[in-house]
């Protein structure tokens, strides 16, 4: 047995219901902590006896506590979403590449989030806002299914107060909604981008990321300045089980954050 494969014990210090099926758990080490996590990386979260799933960190990097936002879509995620404060969760990681938002110093940082994809981007946004002077504009374009399924909705005013321009749109409005209605790519033109001086980070369902990247390319941005957070079946997290391959990439090691220049031909190939 390799002790390094055993998950570290973290305790749920608090939990927040973001929507009817999405929960943010704040986790604090109950024993030895894992190494410092950077925005864009993920951990493998373990529910005792049930299993493990990869979840990107959604909180500000460099904190003692880990924030992880989970959507209940199966046995493990449902168990994690049901955990009360005080419960122990297993954590392995951190794994993978980071958003590297810091390399956009002096440039416009554009984040485009679709649905639960806002969770991995939130860590980059919070990191950027904690060092706001480093960037020119910080823009977040957020697409949600409906107002009830918008995650972190109550933080948006704080983000604006910290210097982010935030535009939110929903696919389907309800009676209380007085904001944008439409797909998130429609916000790109309305916000105005400066293509040669923008670094874009995109996260959401793969179809949404492909369409968004194409829309950004159409404005004149270069593929090397667009980054996506890709997803495949992940089991070991350490590039040894082979499940997370996408062509030449092992996403637990060469991703999940991948530049669109690398990702575009891979995503364009059917069933790669």
């Amino acid at each position: 047995m390799t002790l390094s494969q055993v998950p570290a014990s973290y305790r749920v210090s608090s939990r927040r219901d973001e929507t009817h099926d999405t929960v943010t758990l704040t986790l604090e080490p109950a024993g030895d902590p894992i190494a410092a996590v950077r925005a864009g990386q993920f951990t493998m979260l373990y529910a005792f006896g049930i299993g493990e799933i990869p979840i990107s960190v959604s909180g500000r990097p460099g904190q003692h506590a880990l924030a992880q936002t989970i959507r209940a879509v199966g046995a493990v995620t449902t168990a994690l979403c049901a955990m009360p404060a005080g419960q122990i969760v297993g954590v392995r990681g951190p794994f993978g590449t980071c958003w590297d938002e810091a390399d956009a110093a002096g440039r416009d940082l554009l984040l485009v989030a679709g649905g639960i994809g806002l969770a991995p981007l939130r860590s980059a946004l919070l990191a950027a806002l904690s060092d706001r002077q480093r960037y020119r504009r910080v823009i977040a374009l957020i697409g949600a299914r409906s107002p009830a399924e918008l995650v972190f909705g109550d933080e948006i005013d704080d983000w604006r107060a910290s210097g982010a321009e935030v535009m939110v749109t929903v696919d389907r409005a309800d009676a209380s909604w007085h904001g944008n209605v439409g797909v998130v790519t429609q916000l790109i033109r309305r916000t105005g981008v400066d293509p040669p001086n923008t670094t874009a980070l995109i996260c959401g369902p793969e179809v949404m990321m492909r369409l968004t990247a194409r829309s950004l390319l159409a404005t004149g941005m270069s593929a090397g300045n667009i980054r996506l957070s890709l997803e495949r079946n992940m089991q070991c997290g350490v590039a040894e089980c082979g499940h997370c391959q996408l062509g030449p990439l092992l996403l637990c090691r060469d991703g999940p954050v991948v530049s669109y220049q690398v990702a575009e031909p891979l995503l364009a190939t059917r069933e790669l």
Binding site: G49, G51, N233, E240, C241, H243, L272
Partner: protein
């Protein structure tokens, strides 16, 4: 334990001479040194790998006839111990076991927490591999790169691997499906062995030339008091091995495979091979470098004791690429393409070498006889640029 990483210049210069009876003395020396000896042996209608109680259990006099989708034992008519090509098994069964307990834990009293069970952290058995073909030696080294040896010395793989004693055997008689020469992995063994045998059997008798590849190998041989090999027999052995590279069962044009496969995603050939491929995954089980595994978490009925098990998986499994309720690679076309593109192409991107050693097992153990050397040749033809008249080459 002598340092295996230190090359042994003196030893490499002095080959030794062995007769067949010395194999058992070698076996004895290994067991006396605390090794369990694993080697080829008859098992059912094949020559598999298993623990040898003595060297007499080696398959003396047995050979094999190989073909796409075909494997038959045959009586050789001589008494060669290693006169057979790769069988269905490979050394990965022992280094990267088909099923392995990663860890187990019990629920702790404070509710929700768990405690890993430390008593599972036992020392692995010391294994000696007797009869490692050059292709299989390279396969072990390729898996080393993937599974973290020596990069991650604490991993289960590394701890098992660090203890292994390798007696390699050069090839003098390639099998019908062998193409190690094309993949530059044989028939002469590359570095990484402790001892290297070349078996010579013919009119002048049955004997072995023994090369030393490490300090551990030299130390073990010292107990056997072998006499030095005569220059004539050393030359005979060298020629037998270099002749073998002219008599390969198959060849594969291995140049530029990474680029060829990267450009082949939409090739029509994939539909052709997929119409034959059963996606049974035999090739991945038989291949000595295939390493993919799946993880399973289980508990007992009380729910208080949990285990995580790792077992061999195959990219041909339909749910290997399961994501959001369905496989990314659903069609047989995509799964065959994934396997071959990974083995010969993207393995370079991921691990810095080819994943194929030319052992030919995938050809033999494919129930429909798909031959990857043929598939690659067909892909080359399909993707070749048009000749001057504008027609496909």
């Amino acid at each position: 334990m002598p340092d295996r990483d230190v090359p042994d210049d003196d030893a490499a210069a002095q080959p030794w001479h062995m007769v067949p009876d010395d194999l058992d003395r070698l076996h004895g020396a290994l067991t006396a040194a605390g090794y369990r000896v694993i080697g080829p042996r008859l098992a059912g209608n094949a020559i598999g790998l298993g623990e040898l109680a003595s060297a007499r259990e080696l398959p003396f006099g047995w050979g094999v006839t190989l073909a796409p989708g075909g494997y038959r034992l045959r009586q050789r008519g001589d008494n060669a111990a290693f006169g057979h090509s790769a069988g269905p098994g490979s050394w990965k069964e022992f280094l990267h076991p088909p099923r392995e307990l990663l860890w187990s834990a019990t629920r702790a009293d404070d509710g929700g927490g768990f405690r890993a069970e430390a008593e599972l952290r036992q020392q692995p058995d010391k294994l000696a591999f007797l009869g490692v073909r050059p292709c299989d030696l390279r396969a072990i080294q390729i898996q080393d790169r993937v599974l973290g040896y020596p990069a991650h010395p604490d991993s289960a793989y590394a701890r098992r691997r660090a203890e292994v004693f390798i007696v390699a055997v050069n090839c003098t008689e390639p099998g019908e499906t062998c193409f190690c020469a094309s993949m530059d992995t044989g028939p002469l063994a590359g570095p990484g062995y402790d001892l290297l045998l070349t078996e010579l059997v013919g009119e002048s008798g049955h004997e072995f030339v023994v090369g030393v590849g490490s300090a551990a190998g030299r130390e073990l041989l010292a107990d056997l008091a072998l006499r030095p090999a005569e220059p004539g027999i050393v030359r005979h052995a060298r020629e037998a091995v270099s002749d073998a590279s002219e008599h390969m069962g198959r060849t594969m044009d291995a140049g530029g495979l990474r680029e060829l496969l990267a450009a082949s995603h939409d090739a029509a050939r994939w539909d052709d091979v997929a119409s034959r491929c059963l996606t049974c995954g035999n090739c991945t089980m038989a291949c000595p470098t295939c390493f993919c595994t799946s993880v399973e978490d289980v508990t007992d009925l009380s729910g208080d004791h949990a285990e995580r098990w790792q077992s061999w998986a195959s990219c041909f499994e339909l749910d290997f690429s399961q994501l959001h309720g369905g496989p990314v690679r659903a069609s047989g076309v995509s799964r065959y393409r994934q396997w071959l593109t990974h083995k010969l192409g993207t393995w370079h991107d991921q691990f810095g070498s080819s994943g194929c050693v030319g052992c030919g097992r995938c050809i033999v153990w494919c129930p429909v006889g798909i031959d990857l050397t043929e598939e690659i040749a067909a892909l080359r033809d399909e993707l070749a640029p048009a000749n001057e008249s504008g027609e496909p080459a």
